[in-house]
């Protein structure tokens, strides 16, 4: 009934898609993090034009489906090839990999920007006042007080976002990239056995998510020294 040889072949094939899924995830989380930091800074800067640019970016990329964004960047910009060639950007937009990475980064950046902004705003006012009372200059205050507290605050929500990026990379299969989902669809097309193949593909995403959850838990423990068990008191 359960075809072990087929499952084995499926797992081996899908394994070949893992590097691409990971590279899309890592690339877009890294680039999206930079975009998010810039947008969150824009929102919090108090400079009206920057605030509005950041608001517009977040509004557009949170307000439209990722699939539409991928299609717009890949097929949409593909129709402006002469212009892009004149600007020297075509070598970038010609490749489906870069188009997918850009779309994923822009999308996750918009969500992450709001996570970052909320985390910075959650830093207790008293902590900032205390820092200032100690005579800390603004950058030092940011590095010693705001950043560690905000990071800890942001981590659970940020973890959610990273996990959703892992799953969002599956949309890259719609522009010919053969990551886990792309390979799964190809396998189904050849074997017409949707159930086994998609169950395997789902298991791969579960495994990836499991690893990410573990890493996030480690980071959380590292950032929360106050929650660690007290070191055993040394005998006097």
């Amino acid at each position: 009934m359960i075809d072990v040889a087929f499952l084995d072949a499926t797992v081996r094939t899908l394994l070949g898609g893992v590097p691409l899924t990971l590279s899309l995830t890592a690339g877009s989380v890294a680039l999206g993090g930079v975009l998010a930091a810039l947008a969150a800074w824009g929102r919090l800067s108090g400079i009206v034009p920057l605030d509005w640019i950041a608001r517009l970016y977040i509004f557009v990329f949170r307000g439209t489906p990722l699939l539409v964004q991928i299609f717009l960047i890949y097929y949409g910009l593909g129709q402006f090839r002469p212009v892009l060639q004149a600007w020297g950007l075509w070598t970038f937009f010609r490749e489906p990999y870069w188009c997918a990475l850009l779309a994923l980064a822009l999308n996750t950046g918009a969500y992450t920007a709001e996570i970052f902004r909320g985390a910075v705003l959650s830093v207790p006012y008293g902590a900032l006042v205390a820092g200032r009372a100690c005579g800390m200059p603004r950058l030092l205050l940011f590095r010693r007080i705001t950043l560690p507290l905000a990071t800890r605050q942001a981590l659970p929500a940020y973890g959610n976002e990273v996990i959703s990026v892992v799953k969002a990379t599956s949309l890259a299969s719609t522009i010919t990239l053969m990551e886990i989902t792309g390979l799964a669809q190809k396998l189904i097309a050849q074997s017409f056995r949707a159930l086994e193949v998609f169950v395997c593909a789902g298991a791969f995403y579960l495994a990836l998510t499991f690893v990410i959850i573990g890493l996030l838990r480690l980071a959380e423990a590292w950032l929360s020294p106050d929650l660690r068990p007290r070191p055993a008191a040394r005998p006097a």
């Binding site: 009934m1 359960i2 097929y75 593909g78 129709q79 090839r81 010609r94 489906p96 719609t174 010919t176 053969m178 669809q185 190809k186 189904i188 097309a189 050849q190 017409f192 056995r193 949707a194 159930l195 086994e196």
Partner: protein, 284 residues
């Protein structure tokens, strides 16, 4: 119920190929026919959302002669066979060619069209000079086909070719040009047409009739052209037919009757001249 038998039940329900799920050999009151709606001129979706094309008109004629009530439903190509076996519809009419691989999972009616396949390329690119333009080769004649392939391989070396996923064309690339070209697989042929026009890929490989239809569209006319030899037979199949679930002999007999009738009275020829500007009546 043990976990294993529960899983077996789920598997058999979902796939419908296991022993537990038998095909019931009755003709449904309304025969639902699935078509992709994105493979002009075989089938396409009009701006108002309704389906039209050669197969839609022909399908209605076949059903009328077979005295069946039929309705067309749109279904993405990559889900068309799983959907049939999951009983979401009763037949497929979507430019689907009879091949041995597909015969393992579905049955086919008699063919209602024959079409050759080949490349379309960028008119201004190096592949426009692909030799043997328009000459037909049967893959059944291996020596002749090998000669044709050897003639085009040097120009194709290192180029990127787009095909639709799960098609005879993807199988052709795998069998004959693996290692020579880089293959990219698309969900629809409309998508590989756009990427050819955008210059992301150097060529596409598909059925000749849809390729001609693409090359004639105003937005593709100055970039896309057909080039090189045309292939048929062998891995490219034995004509376009309706796909049915395995073991539904009564429905197959009725539809075969309808197909015979539209061939005999010239309706098929008339419709193929209307949509393809060529007689696509299957030979033999």
């Amino acid at each position: 119920m043990t976990i294993r038998s529960a899983l077996a039940l789920v598997l058999s329900l979902a796939i419908g190929t296991a022993g537990a799920a038998r095909a019931d050999d009755t003709v449904p009151e309304t025969v639902r026919i699935a078509t992709e709606g994105a493979y002009a001129p075989y089938n396409f979706t009009k701006p108002d959302g309704t389906l039209d094309g050669y197969e839609i008109e022909l399908g209605r004629e076949i059903c009328a002669r077979a005295k069946l009530k039929c309705e067309f439903v749109a279904q993405d190509w990559d889900g068309v066979v799983p959907g049939l076996n999951a009983k979401k519809f009763d037949a497929i009419m979507s430019g689907m060619t009879i091949t041995d691989a597909r015969l393992k999972v579905v049955d086919f009616t008699k063919p209602y069209s024959g079409d050759s396949s080949g490349f379309a390329v960028d008119r201004n690119g190096p592949l426009a000079k692909l030799p043997l333009g328009g000459q037909k080769f049967s893959l059944m004649d291996e020596a002749e086909a090998a000669k044709a392939l050897d003639a085009i391989k040097p120009l194709l070396k290192g180029k990127t070719v787009g095909v639709q996923v799960s098609t005879i064309h993807a199988a052709f690339m795998d069998k004959y040009l693996k290692g020579t070209v880089e293959v990219r697989e698309y969900k629809t042929t409309e998508q590989h047409d756009l990427d050819l026009a955008a210059g992301r890929i150097d060529a596409i490989f598909a059925n000749d009739a849809p390729l001609r239809a693409t090359a004639e569209k105003p937005e593709f006319a100055d970039t896309v052209m057909l080039a090189g030899p045309r292939f048929r037979g062998g891995i490219l199949g034995r004509g376009v037919a309706m796909g049915l679930r395995k073991g539904e002999a009564k429905l197959k007999a009725k539809l075969d009757e309808g197909i015979d009738a539209v061939i005999a009275d010239g309706t098929l020829k008339k419709l193929s001249l209307k949509w393809f500007k060529a007689d696509m009546t299957p030979q033999g």
